[in-house]
């Protein structure tokens, strides 16, 4: 057995890469898999904060690359789950401290002992992004249903294709069903129409995400939230399960749902 390396990237910043990495890590570990999350956003580390492991950092990714410690020593174990680890990014160094071949070497070193290695990519298309996708077997592209974010995702997909890392799979994050209903936000279909790649999950806008990351307990941990359920579904799809893709509807009013049942979704799409 050898771990599958999943890189989470986006092009644009602030769309939910770190949130997705933390939640997918927790979800996969919760389903019994051995998971390592690597924060490749050097200089702007924050996966540790979202995962609630900041206070336990001793060594970081750059320490490993520069030989100050072994990879195992930099791996922080999340005590809440049986097999979840984090390799934090360095706070003080710049991205050039790590190279794509370093990333491939590190991933290969731990592949035999794990099921998933999740890599949280920095924004942009520069070195940090190159580092993050170098060892990837699967690339997840996170986008928001918003024109500029979709545009950046498209650019990233082009670069990933040129690197022969496949077209990647798409996560649409922060969807507000009521805004889509009113035609004020791009729908999942609008996004797929442009990007033309496989959709692996739709995550609704959910306040619990913010609350959870402030507390350092990714929202998947407390089960019930809408976003948490969506991330859990993505984890199961990554494992090859067939989980139907549904547009989150819980926040639609009864009237909207009634209208929808009667007339179908707007423009004859969605749903």
């Amino acid at each position: 057995m050898s771990a599958k390396v999943v890189t989470i990237t986006s092009g644009k910043g602030g769309v939910g890469k770190t949130t997705a990495t933390a939640n997918l890590g927790v979800a996969l570990a919760g389903l019994g898999h051995r998971v390592v999350c690597i924060d490749a956003d050097i200089g702007l580390r924050n996966l540790d904060v979202v995962m609630g492991l900041e206070n336990r950092i001793v060594y970081d990714l750059v320490d490993v690359v520069e030989g100050r410690c072994r990879l195992r020593q930099a791996m922080i174990k999340d005590k809440r789950l049986p097999e979840l680890y984090l390799v934090p990014a360095a706070q003080t160094r710049d991205k050039t401290a790590v190279s794509p071949s370093d990333m491939i070497r590190l991933a290969d070193e731990i592949r035999p002992e794990f099921d998933f290695i999740l890599i949280d990519s920095p924004a942009g298309i520069e070195r940090g992004f190159r580092n993050a996708i170098a060892p990837a077997d699967v690339v997840l592209i996170v986008t928001n249903p918003e024109v500029s974010s979709v545009r950046d995702a498209d650019r990233i997909i082009g670069l990933i294709e040129a690197d022969e890392k496949g077209p990647g799979k798409l996560v649409i994050n922060r969807v507000k069903p009521e805004m889509v209903q009113r035609g004020e936000m791009l729908s999942a279909d609008d996004v797929i129409d442009i990007l033309a790649i496989e959709l692996i999950g739709i995550v609704p806008e959910d306040e619990s995400v913010l609350v959870a990351s402030n507390r350092g307990t990714p929202t998947v941990m407390d089960g019930g939230s809408l976003a948490g359920r969506a991330f859990n579904d993505i984890a199961r799809r990554l494992l090859g399960e067939q989980v139907p893709l549904t547009l989150p509807e819980a926040s639609l009013s009864w009237l909207q749902r009634f209208m929808r049942a009667l007339f179908g979704s707007p423009n004859g799409r969605g749903g």
Partner: protein, 232 residues
């Protein structure tokens, strides 16, 4: 195709996927060919700007001082000298010393076919068989044909016509050397911005109710107009 070959035949320019190849005519002197090249670049600055160029020098001997001078003349114009292709070993060595590439695998793909006796004489172009995503750019002195979509944020600049067998939603400039007869056609013509020669047009806000149909854009009476695509 007008624009692909210099009138004096001193230089010929071809587009590759990631740059231009300039072939220097064997009959002219180095000074003549470089002068012709600079004149061509200065006349179509927008087309060359930001691009990279490989120079194919044939069997002539070009010393590193001349190559270095060419490189700086190009870089002053915002163009990168990327490779020097030649058969003279001293030229190849000089190029290598300057850190330039000296072979292009891609060139083989573009080696000209022996012309056969055809009744219709076509004109040169490139075929791109993939969707051009945001940030993707194709520049070519002849025609550009894309089998795939051209997404918002992608750009095509062609000396000749542009044909998109797919949805055209990016930016496109046909007849970039000033050819007003150039056309742009697509299965769905909804470009962010469309230019033909010196004319410019933007698509009307998109109308979802309309079923997309193949269209051709061309210049009529000094304006870009789009019409349903018909062969007659």
């Amino acid at each position: 195709m007008a624009g692909t070959t210099d009138l004096s035949n001193r230089i010929a320019i071809k587009g590759l996927k990631d740059g231009l190849v300039v072939s220097l005519g064997a009959e002219s002197t180095w000074a003549e060919v470089t002068e012709a090249l600079m004149a061509r670049i200065d006349a179509q600055a927008a087309f060359f700007q930001g691009g990279r160029v490989a120079v194919s020098v044939g069997d002539r001997l070009v010393r590193s001082a001349k190559l270095a001078a060419l490189r700086s003349a190009l870089s002053e114009r915002g163009i990168t000298l990327w490779a020097v292709i030649g058969t003279n070993p001293d030229t190849v060595e000089a190029a290598r010393l300057l850190g330039l590439e000296t072979s292009l695998q891609q060139i083989d793909e573009y080696r000209e076919l022996e012309p056969i006796d055809t009744e219709v004489i076509g004109s040169e172009g490139v075929l791109v068989r993939q969707t051009l995503r945001s940030g993707g750019t194709v520049r070519h002195g002849g025609h550009v044909v894309v089998i795939g979509d051209v997404n918002p944020g992608a750009e095509i600049v062609a000396g000749g016509d542009v044909v998109v067998w797919g949805r055209l939603r990016g930016t496109v400039h046909a007849g970039a050397y000033g050819d007003e007869r150039a056309v742009v056609c697509a299965l769905e013509l909804a470009p962010m911005q469309l230019r033909i020669a010196g004319h410019i047009a933007v698509s009307p806000p998109n109308d979802n109710r309309r079923r997309p149909a193949p269209e051709v854009a061309s210049v009529r009476n000094g304006q870009i107009v789009a019409n349903p695509w018909k062969t007659r």
